[in-house]
Amino acid sequence: MSANGSILSTVSTTKVFGGLLAVSDVSIDVGPKSIVSIIGPNGAGKTTFFNMLTGLYRPTAGRILFDGQDVTGRRPDLITAAGVARTFQNIRLFSTMSALENVMVGAHTRMRAGLFGSILRTPSVRREEAAITENAHEMLDYVGLKRDLHEQTAANLSYGDQRRVEIARALASDPKLLLLDEPTAGMNPQESQALTQFMDQLRREKDLTILLIEHDMKVVMGVSEHIWVLDHGEKIAEGEPDEIRQNNRVIEAYLGKQES
């Protein structure tokens, strides 16, 4: 935990691509076990910001602190090992692997099996493999994937089921912070509602902090304890849902985009 009690803090995080300032001086503090959101019009830099949090991009400037450690510019797999997991905006499952195998890959950082252990299938490796398999089944059950679909190739699953598997895969690494990038994209209102309830359940049962990128305002307003608004890479507002709803700059940013 950082000094100010947040599980995640970014300090003036900035990302420049060539001449393009994608994210500019964004600082946020996320309290533990909270559900928080980042919103903003398209192209505001939200996914870029996520990518910095997970190590896919190295920030041009600024720092990122997670769980008391400075993870700025750390490799993605190390950040995952530290307890950050994510889903992607356009689902990135390993499509030719089964749902179960996808989730088992998610558990990579929790497994200790090495090259020789795997070849020899020592008792500890066997136990671990069985435990991870069982755990993967549980994760898939937890997100609501029917048992007979667990071994189904991921590419053959319905869109909704694929989203479920992605979340299960993220959960498999036993994270402290879960980053969900537009989890309700492509969902109808009932499904979005179900996901909202699910997120709440997750936060309670799995002792997680959840950071969302979302466009669906009902979901955002309904579930977030704190919201940050990005526009053109800058943080233009933050606060609780009610404040944000009435914030003029925010309204302008969204409306302005619609007019042009």
């Binding site: 300090v11 003036s12 900035t14 990302k15 420049v16 691509f17 060539g18 001449g19 300032l21 500019s24 001086d25 600082s27 503090d29 991009y57 041009t60 400037a61």
Partner: protein, 355 residues
């Protein structure tokens, strides 16, 4: 809450560490390229008291390099537009060389032919070689790469390797498995002029004189013509190009055609210069020219020419000083170094993916 922010201006300036890294990798590459001739140049000064030997090396190197530049352009054009290494391109060069040579006898061109007839005859064979290589390249794209556009990058690359092998075998069947001497039509080794103790042969001049107009034609075509613009647009952003009404398929075929034309021309020039042909020349040429393209910056036309000239020099110095059995290893070592430390080459910019 206002944390200590940085101004947008400050954020846009590249970070010092990035600037330094860019500087080191670019000038480091230049340094290891220059070090090679410099080392031997110094040796010459000590041993001979003059720079004649290294001068000759460089002249021969530049002329070889002119040929490689033409082949490298083919690689870079294709890679620029579809991000595929046309592995068979070296063999396109070889087939061009073979085709040109094969026409000499039927056309009655020999070492004794008069100058005017010789020039005319050679132009005819050059055009023929260009057409053969160009159409072969287009055919390969059509048959082997286009059907695989939905497939992972692995697939067309393997097909390319397969074609390379097939064509090599065509070469074996055509003119045999050993090197084949060809008539020295232009007396390529005869000195044309000298300067400061360095000898420039007729072959050297030919290579350069032939390369320059071809390169100029190509760059003006790509830079100014409508089709050239279509090529550049497709290379930059294929989806946008399609939306703007550019026929992407035709544009790609055109690119392959151009690359093949240049390789065919290079084939003829090389045959005149080296006075021999060999089925295996495409493999070596291909890798040398590809190294040249990467060294200059893949996707970049000027880079391909620059890279070709540089690689030619390295090759010549290595042949002359270390031994030509080692030259491939030397060139590949440079290739590995470039790919490891500066894959964008000397001039290269990042092509499509940013960040």
């Amino acid at each position: 809450m206002e944390a200590a922010g940085i101004s947008a201006d400050a954020a846009l300036k590249p970070r010092t560490s990035e600037v330094v890294a860019e500087f080191i990798s670019r000038y480091g590459l230049i340094a290891i390229l220059i070090a090679f001739p410099a080392y031997y140049g110094i040796q010459d000064l000590i041993n001979d008291g003059n720079l004649n030997r290294i001068g000759n090396n460089l002249v021969d190197g530049l002329s070889n390099g002119a040929i490689w530049a033409l082949v490298a352009l083919g690689y870079t054009l294709v890679y620029g537009i579809i991000e595929l290494i046309n592995f068979a391109h070296g063999e396109i060069f070889m087939i061009g060389a073979f085709s040109a040579f094969a026409l000499w006898e039927p056309l009655g061109i020999t070492a004794d032919t008069g100058t005017a007839a010789l020039i005319l005859g050679l132009l005819v064979t050059m055009v023929a070689a260009m057409l053969v290589s160009g159409s072969l390249n287009v055919m390969i794209e059509r048959v082997g790469y286009r059907p695989l556009r939905g497939a992972p990058k692995l697939a067309p690359l393997i097909t390319a390797v397969g074609f390379s092998f097939i064509l090599q075998n065509v070469g074996i069947l055509w003119l045999g498995a050993s090197q084949r001497a060809v008539p020295d039509l232009i007396h390529s080794q005869r000195e044309l002029f000298g300067f400061f103790g360095v000898s420039v042969s007729r072959g050297d001049v030919l290579a350069f004189v032939a390369m320059i107009p071809l390169v100029l034609l190509l760059t003006s075509f790509v830079g100014q013509s409508r089709l050239g613009k279509a090529m550049r647009a497709t290379a930059q952003d294929p989806e946008a190009a399609k939306l703007m009404g550019i026929n992407v398929d035709t544009t790609i075929s055109l690119t392959f055609l151009l690359g093949g034309l240049l390789a065919g021309a290079a084939g003829l020039i090389n045959t005149l210069y080296q006075t021999n042909v060999w089925f295996f020349q495409g493999f070596t040429a291909g890798l040398i020219a590809f190294t040249a393209a990467v060294m200059g910056g893949i996707g970049n036309l000027r880079g391909a020419v620059l890279g070709g000239l540089i690689i030619g020099c390295i090759q010549q110095i290595s042949d002359n000083r270390i031994g030509n059995e080692w030259t491939p290893a030397v060139i590949f070592a440079y290739l590995v170094l470039i790919m490891t430390f500066r894959p964008q080459g000397l001039i290269g910019e990042e092509t499509r993916e940013a960040g």
